[in-house]
Point group: C2
Chain length 315, copies 2
Amino acid sequence: MTVRKDIEVVEVGLRDGLQNVAVAMSTDAKKDWLSGAAAAGILEIEACSFVPVKLFPQFADNEAVVAHALSLTPMTVSALTPNARGAADALAAGVQKLSFTLSASRRHSLANVRKTPEEQLGEFRRLIEVRDADGRGVTVTGGLSTAFGCTLEGEVAEADVCRLAEGLVGAGADDISLADTVGYASPADIRRLVRAVRREIGGKLTTLHLHDTRGLGLANVIAGIEAGITVFDASLGGLGGCPYAPGASGNICTEDLVFMLESMGLSTGIDLEALLELRARVEQHMPGAEFHGALARARLPKHWIPPRRRGISPK
Amino acid sequence: MTVRKDIEVVEVGLRDGLQNVAVAMSTDAKKDWLSGAAAAGILEIEACSFVPVKLFPQFADNEAVVAHALSLTPMTVSALTPNARGAADALAAGVQKLSFTLSASRRHSLANVRKTPEEQLGEFRRLIEVRDADGRGVTVTGGLSTAFGCTLEGEVAEADVCRLAEGLVGAGADDISLADTVGYASPADIRRLVRAVRREIGGKLTTLHLHDTRGLGLANVIAGIEAGITVFDASLGGLGGCPYAPGASGNICTEDLVFMLESMGLSTGIDLEALLELRARVEQHMPGAEFHGALARARLPKHWIPPRRRGISPK
């Protein structure tokens, strides 16, 4: 089955949205989310994170979650794998794409995983060995978090981001993602850094992972598209708030992103009405969680038809 | 006094934010807002609307409000004047810039003011006569509301918007503003319509009045800047929600807009910290009103210095 799409939207709510939530979501609720995402036309979903269950009990059901997600073709099932051990577990579960994250900020990296970025590159090489030994040719994305700045370090040098992106590609990453982890980036920063990294690694930089902490998320998407980015992570209801910015929204909101792209004539393959219904169901699964996003409150414009169905070409 | 600015931000909260509010704001609170806006570096403020006081008692103190605003140089004091009578009152009060609005949607125009757009063009010609008779050469902005679509009519034809923009300029408008009154526009729509109208009236199209109803407000600003727009209306805390979309935010939020522009190295002349303090004061003046915006919750990034002060040129 082939679905034409101009921009890929990767739903990361089940991973990024749940990793900071105090109350675990039931396995059945996760399966419902996955089924609804597939039915709405989501083509890739980050289903979980292969982290120690002792520290993150919300990911104790990874195997059951991944097994259900794999039944929902043609959706690609990815997972966050912070190290070689997590990658081995993810591959054993049948995950089709691995995401590894390395913080471009030295202080953030040390605070978060007690390793320097260079030591994390070593961990990434071990992860690639695990992927290669598996033999199925599973895709690996190398993500650079805090690429646009860091609450601990302030500015993160462009040269460091470029060097680490090259390091990830050299170690075997299939594609690279830049993350604005704490919502510091402006559209000008997006253009500047995407161009700089693309000068080093070209089209291997495919993805942006943006947070909407300061309201610039969708403006940053526009800048990213202009700079050649074709894949965006997003989270239903903007789940996934940064714990350092209480009350601030987290990831860019999947339904608002899809509304913007489809309104521009950029096809995502996603049915917005089905996505809004799914959001309402997920809200019921997460009582007390703060959901963000404008479209769910304002609803679709009356008489709204995606412009591509009206024959308006993207601009 | 000259203030260098790349983009003009016009604060419209005192007009657009208050016109739908049930409880009137006191004159002292309005003066405090005006003083705070001037102190923060706001260079133009829409201070009120010259509408019948019987229908809009919140504008009963226009004269006192305008008198206070005029004392706050170098801030330009503008007002909404929906007809020639309002323009005469505004000029008598000393207003320095008049804004007139005409709805590009025939059904919206009939529902709102019981006149067709063409009849409204006639009203605008009478307003221009009043301005010309006044002799002080006060600037008049012709605004086209529902330019990007309408809840009653759905799509509004590009040809209608172009024709009405030409009509306003032909009648004597100094500059033209396009309004996305109900938050239907995408960045692609902004580019398309700004280019189309500029083909007809060139640089007379200076301004966008955007609502953030569906979360695309700041993304639309990026598209507008790329298409040559240099003036944006905005409202502190995103006040000014459309009554047809309960709970949806209204105008784009001044402080989020200024944060985006300054982060991009585009100077606005506005001090963001002073603006955030002002927002907190205005919130106290309007208990129960729903304030929007991400920056006020997440606060400025640590170590944040506007990039232009760090010597980064706009991109």
